[in-house]
């Protein structure tokens, strides 16, 4: 094997490993950067809606765990007086998100899309998150508590 062949082979190996590592590093890094940019200093809360479970949850429902993950209904806590970016997505069907007491009118939350809502609650308290689209047999339980502390 001559020097040129050796260099080509080395370049191929390096390129392969670099690209594979690059994908593994660049994808999550870009996502973090993007969300930080979107938030522009606001606290970020991501909520996943699941009609099958009848909940809004902060637990991440992704490709690998959405089949079996048992997400529990827990209050969603945000700090009072701090701008907040709510990022909402659905893992199954259409939902619509609303917090009437905070004058957040129903926002469409289609499956696989992200809906972003900005809010800046000043008063401490507990508010009810409601789904305004009949999303399935557990629609009646499709609510959550938003605790502003």
């Amino acid at each position: 094997m001559n020097k040129r062949q050796r260099m080509t082979e080395t370049a191929a190996v390096v390129l392969t490993l670099a690209l594979l590592t690059g994908v593994a590093v660049a994808v999550p890094a870009y996502q973090r950067h993007r969300v930080r940019n979107e938030a522009a200093g606001a606290q970020v809360v991501e909520l996943y809606a699941s009609a099958e479970r009848g909940i809004w949850t902060e637990e991440r429902l992704l490709g690998w765990n959405s089949f079996f993950k048992h997400a529990e209904k827990r209050p969603i806590r945000i700090k009072a007086g701090q701008p907040t970016l709510l990022r909402l997505t659905s893992v199954d069907v259409h939902h619509s998100f609303s917090i009437p007491e905070l004058r957040i009118v129903p926002h469409d939350v289609p499956p696989g899309h992200w809906t972003e809502i900005r809010l800046d609650p000043q008063e401490r308290g507990t508010y009810t998150i409601t789904c305004y689209t009949v999303c399935g047999s557990k629609h009646s339980t499709m609510d959550a508590e938003l605790q502003v502390f």
Binding site: M1, S66, V91, P111
Partner: protein
């Protein structure tokens, strides 16, 4: 693990055996692409060529797997579902297979790591077994390549495509699951990737691709119809060639990874278009040719015939399931959401019995009826009737063009209706809210869905035309006189036409 030198396969595997193609008149209309486009010849002869085309695919594949695992579970917003099962599938079945044979196998990422381990090289060729190393007349070093791993021979009883037939049918039974659930696609594709890697370490060269890969099975069948082939320019050069670098390997390339004898290639079925033979040939005698549609017309065994039955049954089943108005059938297939095990059992039983028993039985009946009709006349003229197997395989061949066009017909509306998802996931491959190209939030827009039937009907009729044409050519070859040939083929022709009428009813009825 041994560092064994592989032994070139001097005799092709049974179903890869080479006999002259019976339907004559093809040679005159072939075009030597590498002579016509010299830059292409230069390109495919570069050692880095295959690496350069596989690597981007490997990166995309890894990205798709990551999207399936960490992306949204919503199928139509996840790139693994949209790119693999809508875009890739359509391009593969409607463009690559008909016009570029098994070109996909040349760029497929599944064997990437396995082949890397086997060869311990990504681009270069490795040293030869010193006992076989010699110089050719043209000064090129030739010898059997050394491979890392066990290098075992695949069991002879399995040198056919039955594993691929059953594997593909099994996968397709659960299609509703992996067409909608990204994680199931990850499991399916990831498993194939792992199996490919493990088998490359245990068995010789592309054993996985030849005998195990379920995608390879239907590619092998439908590539017979393709308008592209790799063949020797002049078979006389191969006959007098003493070196057989295409088999053994040379300093320019590896011996045929598909364990074929390239100089005697007569069919596309088991050639993965890796271009190694184009690189290794010391006489520059291997080339890429353009040829008429349906140039390979010989099925070699029942495994290939059954592949044709399976593909036809699946095209019909999918057309009913995914494009028909019968919601209950869809519910039966969609076991993960509906959990209707009885319905799923019925769907599975129907699919498997139609693929493996019913359609084959119809063909057996048609072929036997045809032989009977022809024999009556043949007996009068003392003509010897051809054997059942010969007639059966010849008359099943028309299912190659017909099945291929049926799949194109089925796949086309899927692309037209779901094409806009491709734009969406291109901008947001993981369903994380990205908008890379500004197309993430375009509404779902079916593309000219009303054109569907106007495109489907001619496609099906083209399939029928080639089916009847090739079937009739086989009949004329097998039976003594034209009348016997027509009588023999008539029942099969009726069956083929009935299939097309059924598809037409499904699509435009």
């Amino acid at each position: 693990m041994s560092n064994a030198a592989s032994k070139p396969e001097l005799e092709p595997a049974p179903s890869v055996a080479c006999t002259p193609t019976p339907v004559a008149g093809r040679r005159a209309s072939e075009i030597d692409v590498l002579r016509l486009v010299p830059p292409l010849a230069w390109l495919v002869k570069q050692r880095w060529f295959q690496f350069a085309v596989v690597l981007p695919n490997l990166i995309l594949f890894v990205l798709f797997l990551a999207a399936g695992i960490f992306g949204t579970p919503v199928g139509n917003r996840n790139i693994i579902i949209v790119f693999v099962w809508i875009l890739w599938w359509f391009v593969l079945i409607s463009v690559m297979v008909p016009f570029a044979s098994r070109l996909w196998c040349a760029v497929c990422p599944f064997p990437f790591f396995g082949e890397w381990i086997q060869r311990r090289a990504l681009v270069r060729t490795r040293s030869f077994d010193p006992r076989t190393e010699k110089k050719s007349a043209t000064g090129v070093t030739i010898g059997r390549n050394r491979y890392f791993g066990k290098n075992l021979k695949w069991p002879k009883a399995l040198t056919n495509i039955w594993i691929q037939n059953i594997g593909f049918l099994m996968l397709c039974t659960f299609s509703a699951l992996f067409l909608t659930r990204p994680i199931v696609s990850v499991v399916v594709l990831g498993s194939l990737f792992l199996i490919a890697t493990v088998l490359h370490v245990i068995y010789r060269q592309r054993t996985f691709c030849s005998y195990v890969c379920p995608v390879s099975g239907f590619l092998s069948l439908f590539s017979m119809a393709s308008t592209l082939e790799i063949r020797p320019r002049d078979t006389n050069v191969c006959t007098t060639c003493k070196e057989k670098a295409c088999l053994a390997g040379s300093e320019h390339g590896w011996g045929c990874p598909w364990l074929l004898y390239p100089s005697k290639l007569e069919r596309n079925n088991y050639c993965g278009l890796c271009m190694e033979c184009v690189k290794t040939c010391t006489h520059d005698n291997m080339t890429v040719k353009l040829r008429p549609f349906c140039s390979d017309t010989v099925l070699k065994g029942y495994d290939e015939a059954w592949k044709a039955f399976i593909m036809l049954a699946l095209a019909a089943a999918y057309s009913v399931l995914y494009q028909g108005p019968w919601g209950s059938f869809k519910d039966w297939a969609n076991i993960s959401e509906k959990l209707n095990w009885r319905g799923f059992g019925l769907y599975t039983a129907t699919l498997w019995s139609a693929s493996l028993l019913l359609i084959p039985a119809v063909f057996v009946g048609a072929v036997q009826a045809g032989r009977l009709l022809a024999r009556r006349r043949g007996a009068e003229e003392n003509a010897a009737a051809p054997a059942f197997k010969e007639v059966f395989l010849a008359f099943v061949y028309p299912l190659v063009p017909l099945g291929l066009l049926a799949w194109v017909t089925f796949s086309l509306p899927l692309l037209l209706v779901n094409g806009s998802y491709i734009l969406m996931v291109s901008s947001d491959p993981f369903g994380w809210g990205w908008n890379l190209f500004g197309t993430a939030n375009i509404p779902w827009t079916p593309l000219v869905p009303h054109w569907g039937p106007y495109l489907q009907v001619p496609l099906l009729l083209i399939g029928l035309y080639f089916a009847l044409k090739t079937g009739k050519a086989h009949a004329s070859r097998l039976f003594a006189d034209q009348r016997s040939a027509l009588k023999a083929f008539a029942p099969t022709a009726t069956v083929l036409t009935s299939f097309v009428v059924f598809f037409l009813w499904l699509y435009v009825g």
